[in-house]
Structure formats: C-alpha cells, structure tokens
Amino acid sequence: MNALAVHSLWTTAAEPLNKIPAPKIEYTQLAPVLIVVGAAVLSVLVEAFVPRKGRYFSQLFLSVAALAASFAAVVGLAAGGYGTTKARIAAMGAIAVDGPALFLQGTILLASIVAVFTFAERRLDPADHGHQVDSFAAEAAAVPGGDHEKAAVKAGFTTTEVFPLALFAVAGMLVFPAANDLLTLFIALEVFSLPLYLLCALARRKRLLSQEAALKYFLLGAFSSAFLLFGIALLYGYAGSVSYATIAGVVDGSVSSVNPALADTMGNDALLLIGFALLLMGLLFKVGAVPFHMWTPDVYQGAPTPVTGFMAAATKVAAFGALLRLLYVVLPGLTWDWRPVMWGVAIVTMLGGAVVAITQTDIKRLLAYSSIAHAGFLLAGVIAATPSGISSVLFYLGAYSFVTIGAFAVVTLVRDAGGEATHLSKWAGLGRRSPLVAAVFAVFLLAFAGIPLTSGFSGKFAVFKAAAEGGAGALVVVGVLASAIAAFFYIRVIVLMFFSEPKADGPTVAVPSVLTTLTITTGVVVTLLLGFAPQYFLDLAGQAGVFVR
C-alpha cells in the first residue's frame, strides 16, 4: 500500500467518501502471491471445518495445487514478457514484477512443492497405533512425553496445520524478493518468518530440541528484525520515504525531498549509512552470513528435517533476492561504501563456514555449516555488482535449493530406533547396506563440493566468474581455498559411507513413499541436469538479470 494514497485519504477526510480514489491493483501481475495467500487462508478454513480424517489429503491437495497454480502464473507472467520488456512496479509501488522477482518466485515455488512432498511423507516411521505418522508432533501443545501427548498419538492426531503455515511462509517469501518499498520488505519478512518459527517447533521426535530450536530462532529472529526495522526508520528519516525508488533518488542526489531548514539532521549520511548497515544486518541474518549465522546450526539441527530442508532452500532464495534488490536498486549509489564491507563479510563467511564444518559430527549441523559456506560463495557473486553477477547468483540459488532439499530428504530416510540417525558415526558403511541411497547422497555431497558435472560446479563457476569479471579476483582465490577446505568434510562423509565397515547396530534406510522419492529424484535430476547442460537455465537467469527501477 502506497503511502501517498494514504496521505491523500488522510487529508481529505472531511470530504464526502465517494471522493476517495481507489488504489489501483494489478491483480494479474500479483496473481502468484495472491493465489498462495488465498490458498493459505482457505487451508486455515479447512483446518477449522473439514473433519480430521479428510484434512491430510485435502490440505496436501490444496497446497500442492495452489503452489502449482501459482507457479503456472509465474511462468505465464514470464512468458508474457513481464520478466523483461514489460517489467514494472505493481500495487502502487509496493511490489516489483520483473525478471529477478519472477525467477526467484519460480524457484521458491518449485522448491516449496518438493518440500511439501517431504512434509506429507508418512511412510518413514512405523505406523503408531495403526495410524500412519509424519515427522510432525501429534499435538504440538502437549508436553513431550506427557499423558496428553500419548492420548493424542493414540487418537492418531496429526498436525496438519503445517500446510497452511508453509503456505503463509511461501507467500511471504514470494513477496520478499519482489518488495519494492521497505515497509513491504519488513512485512514480508515477518510473514514468512513467523510461520517458520512455529514449524521449527513441531518435530515429532526429539521435541525438546525442536522447541529449543524454535525458541532460539524466534528470539534471534525477532531481535534481528528489530534491527532491520530501526534501519528502515533511519533510512526513512534520511530520505523521507520508504519507497526504493525515492530513496535511490535521494542517495544519488537526483531527488531532493530534504527540507533545507532541517538540513543539519536530515539527509546527512550518518543516517543513511547506519540505516543501511542495520538493514544489511537484518538480511544477512536471514542469509546466515558470519557473524550473524549462529542460529543456523542449532535451528537446522533441531527443526523437523523436512522443515530444515524447506528453510535452507527457500529462505536463502528469498533473502538473497531481497538483498540483491536492495543493493542493486536502492543503493547503487552506495556501491563504493558497501562493497568493502561485503568483501569482509563474504570472506569470513566462506572461510568460517568451511572451517567449522570440518569438526562437525551431526549430519544436519554439517549441512548447516555447509549452507553458511555457500552463503559466502553467493555473497561473492552479489559483490560482483554486475548484471552477470545478478544472473549468476540467481542460477546458483536455483541449483543450490534443489541440492539442499534433496540432501535433507535423504537425511529423513536414514533412521534408527530414535528416529532419524543424524550422528555421522551412524552413517558408517551405509554404502554397503544400501548403495543406492548412499550413491544419491554422494551425488548431493559432490554437488555441494562443487565437483564438475554437478549443478554445484556450474553455480560456483558462474559466481566466481562473475566475481572475477567484477574485479573481485582475490575473493575468487579465497573462495577457491574455502571450497578446498569444504571438500574435505564432504569427502569425509563419503569415506564414512563407502570405505568404513557397517556397524552391527547401524541405522536402517526406510523405504519412502512416492512423495519423498519424487523429491529426491527431482533433486538428483536437477543436480545432474544443471551439471551437464546448464545453458538453458543460464539463459533464463541471464534474461532475468535486470531489476526494474
């Protein structure tokens, strides 16, 4: 909602109501978001009215259908040229419909669809009291291990609320990279964060960890979003507006909305720079960049694995989208200020993530740290500050999200009595016991490591290439070193799976239903496809590489 509209509404309050100009909303161009939000609302109603028996299927159907429809809408828009020639600002300046937005929305939607599949997986755990169970608590509110929970399990309750929550989160994520004013940015952030906090708390097994993860995520998330908000406030104070366009104008001096009388405080760069720093911090937190990464390992470990996969993939995409837009649309005039800072962040993130990962013993934490390192690589692409930089980051995000979801989906399969066997020692000799699963996971690990002929390599190459062209050669060298370190721990897992003898009490590999199978297959296919023949997708990302102003 645009501020000026409200302003006019405010000032003309005395006038008869029919004078109020209705804000102009381009529904078709906002369709992707609207569909998902609508579906989310609808599925809340489903929770309310559909009897418990039918909920699971109706929810699953509804979410998948909505996401698919929304994806279709995105494709339609892109085909309609909104990604390139007809790119525009919609919803009275609140939301941008352009290449990056559509590309990222598409990625997010696809990732969400496969993620939702893993949400709905009900074959992995043995049936409990004759009820098939998924990875979510029977009743989140019940005390872990309490009688109430037992009763709930006995009754076969399941937390189908995860579907509306996921949908809301997706909606927020769709808006986040498309947000074209700071207010929308903030709202979108909260809209996708809050459901995620809740989703983290809903694990069926190891509920204490799950709740702790949720608590940490929530507190730190709120903390960071407060910083972000204050940053917004300062920028508003600097530019007198929250819309990207205006701020950008003020920054490079083309627009001057500054009241001369107040020149001493208004429009002075301290506000701008501090505000920018705070805003950046908020986004870097979501991205999981050092030193704002501390939440990542704990939350990734504690959250239900399907949720972890969803978060790791979709959140990163959304957050990087927002970061790109902020840096390229709002603050191009500030490039010389933010580049050095980002250099520092990128370097510590790449190295920090890689180094700490070496000594991890839990597969989920390992992947968490690897995601941190990857955030660093992505930052290297962001820093390039060139169109090719944008498109390379877009491509990397696309490639990375599928590898991540696939990897976490595999993690859900390896189980022992206590649920998922996430401790690395348990993975010893997996390659002997079930070569296929191990091989698939190895593919994902190699992709993470950036071995050629996997999507990971294409992405890394694209990003580093962009960085080098953008004059960040040194960053490439650091990145290369970091990937060398990172290679070590991915390889460690492979060694464990293939070269060490299986333990007698080792975990078993559950045979998943078609849903998870579909997720993993998609992951592998995309990984190899982007590895062998990435050209088409590079073209997509290349076309999508221009922000609308």
């Binding site: 002997r432 016991r433 050629p452 694209a462 580093f464 290369v480 460690r492 060694v495 023949a533 050209q535």
Partner: protein, 528 residues
C-alpha cells in the same frame, strides 16, 4: 557431418561402464567379460583413430565442435594431435590388461550383503576412468578439459579407497583406515590442485573471453590477444600447479606412494600409467600452448624441480621396504624425466617426453602387474618377505626382471629410446642438467636390481616354496606388454612419426628452435 570418431572412442567405455554397473549382483563374471569386451572395442576404436590420423596433416584432426555452455564461452571441442593420439593409444592399450589383471581383485568377500556389488562397481569405475581420460586427451577446449581433469578424480577415488590391496600387513580395520587415508590424500591433493587451476581457468576467461585452445593460441599468435606478463605468469602457475600435483612433481608427490601402495596393482597402474599422464600431457598442450612466455620464464625453476624429482625419487625408492611404494617412487623419478624433457624445449626433449609417457606407462604396467601377481600369491607387500622366488616361479621372475630392466631403461626396451631422447634434448640446451640427470641411470639400476635380488634370488624362503608360477591369464597380461616393449624398443618409428609434427607445432608455440651443432656434418648419408 562425418562419424564422430573421437566422441565414440570415449563414449563406448562410458556407456560400457553404465552397462557394467547395471549387471545384477549374481552375474559378476558376466560383468567382467562385458568390461573386457568393451575395453577391447575401445582399443579397436583407438586403433582406427591412430590409423586415420595423418602425421602430415593439420595440427588437430578428426575435429568435432558443438556449442555447449554459451554463457561460459564453453564449447564441446574435440581434436587430436600426434601427442593425443599416442596417449589415447596407450590408454586404450592398457585398460584391457588392467581389467584382465584385476579379474579377481574385486570379488566380494562373503561378509558383504546381497545389494553390494563391488565387482560390477570396480570394472565400471575403471571404464569410467578410461572414458574420461581419453576424452581429456581429445579436448581442445580448456574448460572441457578442466571438467574432465577434475571429474576423473571421483572414480579414481572410489577405486583407491574402495578396492584396496588385500595383501596388507596388520588388521583389516587398520588396512581400511590406511586405504581411506590414501584415497582422501589422493583426492584432496588433486582437488586442491584442481581448484587452484579453477581460479586460473576463470582468470583465463576474464582475459581471453573464451576457452577454445586453438582460438586463444591464434589470438596470442597474431597479437589480437594481449596478456600482461604478470597475468600470464599467474595463470601459468595456476595451471602448472594442478598438473604438477597430478604428474607428480617434487615436492607435491607424496600422495602417489600412498595411493599406489594401498590400491590394488591394476589400479596402481591405472593411476601412474594412465591418469597421471594427463598431467604431463596437459603441461605440454596447455601450459606451453597457452602461456609460452611464462613457460619460458618458469623453465629454469621447473628443470631444477624435475632434477630433484629424478634423483630424489630414485634415492627414496632405493630405501623402500614395500614393493609397490618402491615402484611409486621410481615413477616419481620417471615423471621427473618427462617434465624435464617437456621444458627442455627441444624437439628431442619433447618427443622423448611424449614417448616417455607411453613407454613408462607400458613398462610400469608390466612391472607393477607382475608385482601384483607376486603379492597376491604371498599376501605381503614387504620386500623382506620374499626370496628365491626365481627358483620356484622362473617365468614370474623372468617377466618381473624384464619389467625391471625396462624400468631402468635398458637399450632394446622401449623406455631407453625415450629416456635417451630426453637426456639428449636436455643436454643440448642445459648441459649441466643433462649430466646430473644421467645419475638417474645408475640409481634406476640400483633400485631395480636390489629389488630383484632381494625378492627373486638367494635361498628359497619357506613361505614362497609352494608359490605357483604365472597362470595363463596372467601370462596373457604380461606377454603382450613385454612384446610391445621390445617392439617399441627397436622400432619406435611408427610412434615418432606421429609425435614429431605435433612436437614441432608445440616448439613453434613457444617460438623455440633446436640448438644447432657447432660442427654440422652434412654427409651423414654419404657415410653409409
């Protein structure tokens, strides 16, 4: 367009690998035969390549070129020059013997589960490596080459770590640990090298804008592509580092003894005789082809390192207790010769180096495979555990000796030709280096003969008393290799004819000409 011969040569083993891997667990013998047949078909194709290649023709022949990744300026470009042809032939020639020699190396132990199919995996991986190596010899696109250069590490890694030598000292766990250590060491060394090369590859792109070897070379030749001296040197170092790890050049060599020691003999041969050749090949084609000036700038240092490799490798080989590690260090010494020959920048040196790659491959294969047969019989890699084998298994001992004599490059066997060419080529430009390198001749004799004496001669040890002589399968592996060694030893012409023009091209890349003799003798023919 014509039949894509080069692609086929690489595709056959690749497809074969997939098929082999798909063979059901119970039918592992079928998998073996399939692998063998595929490798033979590949050999035939390689033969056709060799035949179709005209030494007098263009520099790169049988060229194929398709668009691949436009955004990275990457094309699927294949083409072979004489050097490539020779090395493809070597690879295709060795793989069948490796398969045959490893016939029983991957038979599953009874402890393993139904789904576990090591045999299929073993041969599939070997074929996969063959495919990648062959393709990397054909690639004329730097990026394509780089991708294969890196990707081939993965199957090699599984071959080393997954199928260790069953003849190990100490407990199984201990052996497994050592094996995975060797595998990880192999992978990390080469991966680090590769990643540093990646930085250089990206750098090359930012400078040149594409990856086509031919285009870049042209552009550099006609001056349309200027490269700042420092840039060129950095890029050269990036590339060279990766190749020097792979080759391996002192002091980046320590992964090789571990890898060759822990892997089964056929895999060890695969490492040193086939995969490592990609490194030296790449020095010749990419370092010299892309960065002639930098190559010349770096030559003195590299010659010194090569010399160190030669002497150091040989001396350390003398001190080894483990047969396979000894061969590994011998190879390090030989790679020193190859690299020295390449950077001597003379026709003799570089032709010698190329021949050396081929001959070293064959001779090491002969020696190592026989050593493997020996080791599987006795179940130990320690030299001290043998003695007097020659009395109980004369054929085995004889073939072993011939392999050893080839390793010490005795005239009449192929390696002599290449080694002498390298020496002459080096001597012509760097006399001192040439003279120092000749000490390698003595040291080689030392480690080979000491090895032979300790294992084969003397009174017969109790443990080896009941040792059977070579079986027909094993003889079928060794005999042809020895035949090839002898043939190339007295009649290397077919090979030199193919290699010479390619070398001349390389020489023109670096704008070097052979030093002329001070008293040129015209009437060489007249003397006859």
């Amino acid at each position: 367009m014509s039949f894509p011969l080069l692609t086929a040569t690489a595709a056959v083993p690749a497809v074969g690998a997939i098929l082999t891997a798909a063979v059901p667990a119970a039918r592992r013998t079928a998998a073996k035969w399939l692998a063998l047949i595929v490798s033979l078909v590949t050999l035939v194709l390689a033969g056709i390549v060799f035949a179709r290649f005209e030494p007098g023709g263009d520099r790169y022949q049988l060229v194929e070129s398709h668009s691949w990744i436009r955004d990275f300026g990457v094309r699927y470009e294949l083409g072979v020059d004489g050097i490539g042809v020779a090395l493809i032939a070597l690879t295709a020639l060795l793989i069948p013997f490796i398969v045959l020699a490893g016939w029983h190396d991957a038979d599953p132990l009874e402890t393993s589960s139904k789904r576990w199919r090591p045999t299929q995996g073993f041969f599939a991986l070997i074929l996969m490596v063959e495919a990648m190596v062959i393709l990397s010899f054909e690639a004329t696109d730097v990026f394509l080459f780089y991708i294969l250069f890196e990707a081939m590490l993965i199957p090699m890694y599984f071959l080393i770590g997954g199928f260790g030598d069953r003849a190990h000292s100490g407990s199984d766990e201990n052996a497994a640990a050592q094996r995975s250590y060797a595998a990880v060491k192999f992978l990390l060394y080469n991966l680090v090298g590769g990643l540093i090369m990646l930085a250089a590859v990206i750098g090359l792109y930012t400078v040149a804008g594409n990856f086509s070897l031919t285009e870049i070379a042209e552009a550099r030749a006609n001056g349309s592509l200027e490269m700042a001296t420092s840039t060129e040197r950095w890029l050269f170092l990036g590339f060279f580092f990766a190749f020097a790890v792979k080759a391996p050049l002192w002091p980046l060599h320590t992964w090789l003894p571990n890898a060759m020691g822990e892997a089964t003999a056929p895999v060890a041969v695969l490492i040193t005789a086939v995969v490592d050749k990609v490194g030296t090949f790449a020095m010749l084609r990419f370092c010299l082809g892309l960065f002639p000036e930098a190559s010349k700038w770096a030559t003195p240092a590299i010659i010194v390192l090569a010399l160190i490799s030669i002497v150091y490798g040989a001396l350390v080989a003398v001190g080894q207790r483990d047969i396979k590690r000894l061969v590994a260090y011998a190879s390090i010494s030989h790679f020193g010769f190859i690299i020295m020959g390449i950077f001597a920048m003379t026709t003799q040196g570089q032709s010698g180096a190329t021949l050396y790659m081929v001959n070293h491959g064959i001779s090491t294969a002969a020696l190592m495979l026989v050593a493997g047969f020996l080791i599987t019989r006795r179940g130990s890699r320690l030299i001290a555990d043998y003695g007097g084998v020659q009395k109980v298994a004369p054929v085995l001992a004889g073939t072993f000796l011939i392999g050893g004599l080839a390793t010490l490059s005795l005239p009449g066997l192929a390696p002599f030709v290449s080694e002498f060419l390298v020496l002459v080529g080096t001597f012509a430009r760097y006399p001192v280096a040439g003279i120092v390198a000749t000490t390698g001749i003595v040291l080689a004799a030392l480690y080979v003969l000491v090895l032979y004496q300790r294992t084969m001669t003397g009174p017969v040890k109790e443990e080896v008393r009941s040792m059977p002589d070579l079986r027909p399968r094993e003889l079928a592996v060794v005999a042809p290799l020895i035949a090839v060694l002898l043939f190339l030893g007295v009649f290397p012409k077919p090979l030199t004819d193919v290699v010479d023009p390619a070398v001349r091209h390389t020489m023109s890349d670096v704008q070097r000409t052979d030093p002329q003799p001070e008293v040129p003798v015209q009437n060489v023919e007249a003397a006859k």
